[in-house]
């Protein structure tokens, strides 16, 4: 199990990356951490992987306290956001080095390497130097290496970045297998659809704090209301800027060719929105009222903004849907 309580991190430069993150990953559970760029996901995962210590807060990983990094390290399989490969070494040499770092006996290492190479589709690459690998192949190697010592708990930072759809599906299957064998799996991701399919529990992190947590379904329900998706004829950005000038009640987000409005009253709100769109001369091609997806959840809890503008969260409160249901507002 992985359990963290009130982790904070102030980097040496003074940057406050975490201001109190608590999370929990049980055995046989895949838990996801999502949040905008710079939210502090990697910082939290690095602390739990014993890369560096938190500024305050405590955590236990596989029953060992964070301060006892030496006991944690053999138990965890880690793949950080940087693949951390040596461009001058071949794939096979990476397996050899990794095995020696974890004290895996030579026979066992050779046997597991063969299996992992097969599973991660690396057969054509193991004898090439990693510097000649494509980005996705490097990612696959880094994921395979994390499993070489058959760790108890797994920590992956954005593991599926750069993977093609097939490799991604295979990796997700591997994760489910590990979960079913009873391993706790903690991962971060930017792919919300993936989080939705894979994770039993999610933490939405923003600006170094958990702003929402719960199962994907609970989180969608917590957003409440519905999403009103309008496909417009003109350039969607153009329409959005015209809307921004006139529409006071909640700005829509842009999703592909669509403007997505959050509505609470499903009878009156769509009418008002459509009327408003006609007023700003938007050509309406299609509209649909749908239940919110995880993208809506994400935007709802973290606000639509980039890392550089520390904007306002739509609600100044944290929603927690505790395991087993029941909402608590803080």
């Amino acid at each position: 199990m992985i359990a963290a309580t009130d982790l904070t991190k102030v980097y040496a430069g003074g940057r406050r990356a975490l201001i109190g993150v608590s999370l929990r990953v049980h055995e046989g559970e895949i838990v996801g951490v999502v949040g905008p760029n710079g939210a502090g996901k990697s910082t939290a995962l690095k602390i739990l992987s014993t890369v560096f210590a938190p500024s305050s807060g405590t955590a236990t990983v596989c029953g060992h306290d964070l301060s006892d990094a030496g006991s944690i390290r053999p138990c965890i399989g880690v793949a950080l956001q940087d693949v951390g490969l040596d461009p001058l070494m071949t794939g096979h040499e990476h397996f050899t080095v990794q095995a020696s770092l974890y004290g895996v006996p030579r026979d066992a290492a050779a046997c597991r390497e063969a299996r992992l190479v097969e599973r991660f589709g690396l057969s054509d690459h193991v004898d090439q130097v990693v510097g000649a690998y494509s980005g996705g192949t490097q990612r696959r190697l880094s994921l395979a290496l994390a499993l070489l010592h058959e760790p108890k708990a797994l920590i992956f930072d954005e593991p599926t970045v750069g993977l093609d759809p097939r490799a991604r599906r295979q990796f997700m299957a591997t994760l489910r297998e590990l979960r079913d064998q009873g391993h706790p799996v903690l991962l971060s991701t930017q792919y919300l659809e993936e989080a939705n399919q894979l994770c039993q529990y999610l933490y939405v992190i923003d600006e170094g704090a958990v702003v929402a947590e719960g199962s994907p379904a609970d989180l969608r329900a917590a957003v409440g209301g519905l999403a009103f998706r309008v496909t417009v004829g003109d350039t969607v950005d153009d329409v959005a800027s015209r809307v921004a000038g006139t529409w006071q009640s909640g700005q829509p987000r842009i999703d592909g060719e669509q403007l997505v409005f959050h509505v609470s009253d499903q009878i009156r709100d769509p009418d008002a929105i459509l009327a408003m769109l006609r007023r700003v001369d938007a050509e309406i091609r299609e509209y649909r009222l749908v239940t919110p997806d995880l993208d809506d959840v994400f935007i709802h809890f973290t606000g639509e903004r980039s890392e550089s503008e520390p904007g306002q969260r739509p609600m100044d409160m944290t929603v927690r849907i505790q395991r087993g249901g029941g909402q608590r507002w803080k």
């Binding site: 210590a53 965890i76 951390g84 070494m89 080095v97 020696s100 770092l101």
Partner: protein
Amino acid sequence: MEVALVMYKRALREAKRIPITTVIIPLVLPLFMVTIFAHVFARITSVSGFRSGSQYVAYVAPATILMASMLGSATAAVSTAVEIQTGFFDRMRTSPAGAVPSMLARRFADATRLAVFAIILALVAWAEGMPISNWFLGLLVAAALAALWGLAYGGLALAACVRTGSAELANALLPLFFPILFMSTAFVPLPLLPHWLQGIARWNPASYIADAIRVALIQGRVDGGTIWRAALGIFCVALATQFLIWRAGQWLGRR
């Protein structure tokens, strides 16, 4: 132990894959010194202070060996900085073995290379006219002191690179070999140095290391007093740089 061996082999393999930085660059200047520079300044030995009848190439050969040691001892530091940048260092840190075996192995791989450099330079100096009376003893002392000095001195660049993760810093430290060797008896005997420099040269371990190598190569004997001082000097530098590396490592764990 197994991991240190794997890492040592890895470091040697890597040195072979990038020979320009690991072999050519550290050897060019010392080879130039022992072949051309030594002849340009050949007449310097007629000045009193040198042993009469000696050749400058024989005097300066240990200086070129030390120079190669100092120029070639930053490879561990540069490679470690690159590992910090690529994240390979964190891969090792999150493993039970940690990053220390790799750093140690890299330093010993550097030392191995420096021992070979010392032998190459001694051979070239011999071809240029330096007499070698006891081959085995001469090459052994030269190789051992060159390796140990590189190991100790290279720790400075390693500490700087671990602390900053920047390989440029190791390169910025390279010219430091210049004042260290010129403020020693590596290029000219003590009496020829300006008075104020003599004081520094007496405290400079490079003086004793160069002297010990010279005596071993030319006279084929081990001068107890000089060797002892050379070893003490190397030990003190090693202790100081090891402390800096340890501090830099502590810092990495807190970041």
